[in-house]
C-alpha cells in the first residue's frame, strides 16, 4: 500500500520519532506561557539539555541517566531566565534571546572533547506481539520509550491544566497576575516553577536529539529546533493536544519532503520547507478572527512582568 512510492505506515512512524524533540520543548513552553511568561530561550535550553544529557549518558553508561541530565541541564539554565525575569524584572523577550546566545556558547564549551563519542543506545521498547501487528505495529509499537513518554507528558499536562487545582492556579496567574496575587497566590513562585518545567522539557527534547535522533555530540546540534517549538505553541493555540498535532505537522513536513525527494518526486524544496510556517500563520489568522480573542486562548498576561506593589 504505497502512495507515490512512499509507505505511509513507515512515514508516520518516522515522523513520530522526528517530532519528539520539538514536541517536548513545545509542551514545556506551553506551560511557561500558560503561566504568563514568554521565554524565547528555548533553543538555548535545548542545546544545553543536549550536551548535559550526552555527557551524563556517556559517564554513567545509561541513556536514562542521560535524559535525567538533559532535563536538569535545561532546568538549571531556565533558572537563570527565571531569576532575571521574576526577581530582577528584566524584559522577557530580550532575556530569552540572551539566554539562547549564552546557552549556545556554554554548550559548545562543555562539549569540547565529546566529538566522535557514541552514547549508550536507547533501544525500542519490547512490546512483543504488538509490534507484529501489520501497519499498526509499524506505526505505533516499535518505538523507543521516550516516544511514549513524550506523549504521556502531553496527556499529563493536559490533565493537570484541565482538571487540577494546580492547573487552575497556573492559568489564573497567566490570565491576570494581579487578580491571582489578590487571591493570595504566590505569582512569582508559581511562575518560577513553570519556567523550570519548561526548561526541563526543552532539555529533555535536546537530550533526545543528542542521544536518539542523532546519537552524537556536535556543536549546534539542535540547529533551530527550539524556534520551531515556539511556533508550535502558537499553532496549538496553547492547547496540549494540539501541540502533538503541531509537532507532527512540523516534524512531518520535513520528513515528508525528504521522503518525496527520496522517492523521486519533483518538488520545489524551498517552497515546501516554508509551508509549515505559512500554514501556522493561516491557522493563527483563522483562529484569532473566528470567535474573537477568547477563541485564541492566549494567556492575557503573556510577556508581562509582575511586581507586587503591596
Amino acid at each position: 500500500m504505497d502512495i507515490g512510492g512512499i509507505n505511509p505506515a513507515i512515514l508516520i512512524a518516522s515522523l513520530m520519532v522526528a517530532s519528539v524533540p520539538i514536541m517536548l520543548a513545545a509542551i514545556g513552553e506551553l506551560v511557561v506561557e500558560k503561566a504568563g511568561v514568554l521565554n524565547l530561550g528555548v533553543e538555548g535550553m535545548m542545546i544545553i539539555g543536549a550536551i548535559c544529557g550526552f555527557v551524563l549518558a556517556v559517564y554513567s553508561g545509561s541513556a536514562v541517566m542521560g535524559f535525567v541530565g538533559g532535563a536538569l541541564g535545561g532546568a538549571v539554565l531556565s533558572l537563570v531566565f527565571g531569576l532575571l525575569t521574576q526577581f530582577m524584572l528584566t524584559n522577557q523577550v530580550a532575556t530569552g534571546l540572551a539566554l539562547t546566545l549564552f546557552g549556545q556558547g556554554l554548550s559548545s564549551m562543555i562539549g569540547q572533547g565529546y566529538n566522535g563519542i557514541k552514547p549508550p543506545a536507547t533501544t525500542a521498547l519490547p512490546l512483543g506481539p504488538l509490534a507484529e501487528i501489520p501497519v499498526l505495529g509499524t506505526i505505533l509499537f516499535r518505538h523507543d520509550w521516550m516516544v511514549y513518554t513524550s506523549i504521556l507528558i502531553i496527556a499529563a499536562v493536559w490533565a493537570v491544566l484541565k482538571y487540577t487545582r494546580t492547573g487552575l492556579i497556573l492559568r489564573a496567574v497567566g490570565e491576570s497576575h494581579d487578580a491571582a496575587h489578590a487571591l493570595g497566590y504566590k505569582v512569582v513562585r508559581i511562575r518560577i516553577f513553570a519556567i523550570l518545567f519548561g526548561g526541563a522539557m526543552a532539555g529533555l527534547g535536546g537530550a533526545y536529539v543528542s542521544l536518539v535522533r542523532v546519537p552524537q555530540w556536535t556543536d549546534g546540534i539542535t540547529a533551530g529546533a527550539g524556534w520551531i517549538a515556539l511556533a508550535i505553541v502558537v499553532f496549538a493555540s496553547w492547547r496540549p493536544w494540539r501541540v502533538l498535532i503541531g509537532a507532527y505537522l512540523f516534524g512531518g513536513i520535513t520528513v515528508l519532503q525528504l521522503n518525496l525527494q527520496a522517492a523521486g518526486a519533483a518538488i520545489p524544496v524551498e517552497y515546501l520547507s516554508m509551508s509549515p510556517y505559512l500554514i501556522t500563520i493561516l491557522v493563527l489568522v483563522i483562529m484569532s478572527s473566528g470567535r474573537g480573542k477568547a477563541a485564541l486562548n492566549a494567556p492575557a498576561a503573556l510577556g508581562q512582568n509582575f511586581h507586587a506593589s503591596r
Partner: protein
C-alpha cells in the same frame, strides 16, 4: 567603471598552474605567522575540523619557526573581511580562508595587504598576485565510493544526500553514479537535497527517508556523522561512507570507507615555501595524487575482491592512468558530453550543472 569579468573556469584552471610566479617570489622568512579562518566550529567533526588538523600539522612540522592563529565561526561576508584584516594587521604572513564564501572578502583584503599571502579554498578569483586558490578533487573519492556502492547494494538502490545544488556536489553525484552503474547496470540513484551543510537532525531524517525507500548504500555531502549514525541503527543492513573526516567511530560498518579531506600536505608545503623563499602564486586542484584526498581504510565489511578493485581504482587515479570522467558519457538529456576516450576538461567540471545520463530527477534551481 570597473566591472570585472571573472576568469571563467575553463580558461584559467589547470593542474597546479603556476601564475605570475616571478612576481610573487618572496624573501626567505625567519619565522612565519600563519592564520586560518574557519566557517564553522572546530568541533564540527567534518569540514572545519579537518582544516584545523591541517593547521596543527603545520605547527607540528615547523615547531618554533611557525606561529599559528585561527578564528572559528566566521560568518561569510562583512565579518570575514574584518576578521581577515585584523589577522593581517596582527602580523600574519599567510592567511588561509577555508570556505567558498570568503572569496570576495579574501580578494578585497589581499588588495590592501600586498605583503601578506592569501590562500583561498575552493574559489576561483585571484585578483591580485598575493592570492592563491586551492581545492581538492573530491570526485575522485566519489568514484571509489560509487564502485563499492554498486558492488555492495542488494536492493540496487543507492542514495546520495546533497547539500546545495552547486557544481562541487553535482560533480560528486555524477562520479558516484557513473561508477556504481559501471559495475551494476541495474543500480538506481536517489538524491535528497538537504539544503544545509550542517543540521544533524535533518541529515539523519534524510538518511532515514532514503533507507525507508529501500536504499542500502548512502553517500553524503553534508558535514555531520548523522547519516552514518542513522545507518548504524539498521544493524548492518545499510552502509555508508565517512565524509570530510574519517568518521572511524562507525567502523567497520556502517562506515565501510571514507573520503578524508587532508589539507596538511598543502598547508605544510605553502608555509614551508614561505620559510625557504620559494613561495609563488598558484591555483591548485590536487586529488588523490597530491594526497589532499585520502580514501579511508576500506573495512572488512566489504568483500576482499571488491576491496581490491576499489583500491586498484584509487591507485590508478592516483597514478594518473585513470580519470573518473572518461568518455563516452552522455548528459541526462541524452546529448553527448564526452566522446569515447575523452577526458573531462577541468572547466566543465568546475561549472557542472547537469546530471549524467541515467540519473532520474531534476537539479533544483
Amino acid at each position: 567603471m570597473q566591472r570585472r569579468t571573472i576568469l571563467k573556469g575553463g580558461a584559467a584552471l589547470g593542474f597546479a598552474t603556476m601564475m605570475g610566479g616571478k612576481l610573487a617570489m618572496a624573501q626567505v622568512l625567519e619565522k612565519v605567522k600563519a592564520g586560518f579562518i574557519y566557517v564553522g566550529p572546530i568541533g564540527d567533526g567534518g569540514w572545519t575540523f579537518q582544516h584545523h588538523q591541517g593547521a596543527l600539522a603545520v605547527q607540528e612540522q615547523f615547531g618554533d619557526k611557525v606561529e599559528i592563529v585561527w578564528q572559528e565561526n566566521v560568518p561569510e561576508g562583512a565579518d570575514a573581511e574584518r576578521a581577515l584584516t585584523q589577522m593581517a594587521l596582527s602580523g600574519c604572513n599567510i592567511i588561509f580562508t577555508t570556505s567558498f564564501g570568503y572569496m570576495d572578502p579574501t580578494n578585497a583584503v589581499a588588495a590592501k595587504f600586498p605583503d601578506v599571502k592569501f590562500e583561498h579554498a575552493t574559489g576561483y578569483k585571484r585578483d591580485s598576485a598575493n592570492v592563491s586558490t586551492y581545492n581538492a578533487r573530491f570526485y575522485e573519492g566519489r568514484a571509489v565510493q560509487g564502485h563499492i556502492a554498486g558492488k555492495m547494494t542488494k536492493s540496487n538502490k543507492i542514495g546520495y544526500i546533497g547539500s546545495f545544488p552547486i557544481p562541487e556536489v553535482i560533480m560528486g553525484i555524477n562520479s558516484y553514479y557513473l561508477h556504481a552503474k559501471k559495475v551494476n547496470p541495474a543500480v538506481e540513484l536517489s538524491v535528497v537535497w538537504a539544503f544545509t551543510w550542517f543540521d544533524p537532525a535533518k541529515e539523519a531524517d534524510a538518511a532515514k527517508a532514503l533507507i525507508d525507500q529501500g536504499v542500502d548504500v548512502i553517500a553524503s555531502h553534508t558535514d555531520s556523522t548523522a547519516p552514518l549514525a542513522e545507518a548504524a541503527k539498521t544493524g548492518g543492513k545499510v552502509i555508508g561512507f565517512g565524509q570530510a573526516s574519517d568518521m572511524s567511530e562507525y567502523k567497520p560498518s556502517p562506515r565501510v570507507s571514507s573520503i578524508i579531506d587532508n589539507w596538511a600536505p598543502y598547508y605544510i608545503k605553502r608555509v614551508g615555501a614561505l620559510l625557504d623563499g620559494t613561495y609563488a602564486q598558484v591555483d591548485v586542484w590536487e586529488g588523490i595524487a597530491g594526497g589532499e584526498v585520502l580514501i579511508g581504510e576500506i573495512t572488512d565489511a566489504v568483500p576482499a575482491d571488491v576491496k581490491a578493485e576499489a583500491e586498484a581504482m584509487r591507485d590508478a587515479i592516483g597514478a594518473g592512468t585513470y580519470h573518473p570522467f572518461t568518455g563516452p558519457i552522455n548528459k541526462q538529456d541524452g546529448s553527448v558530453w564526452l566522446a569515447d576516450g575523452a577526458v573531462a576538461p577541468d572547466g566543465d567540471l568546475l561549472g557542472m550543472n547537469f546530471y549524467v545520463e541515467g540519473i532520474v530527477g531534476d537539479i533544483p534551481s
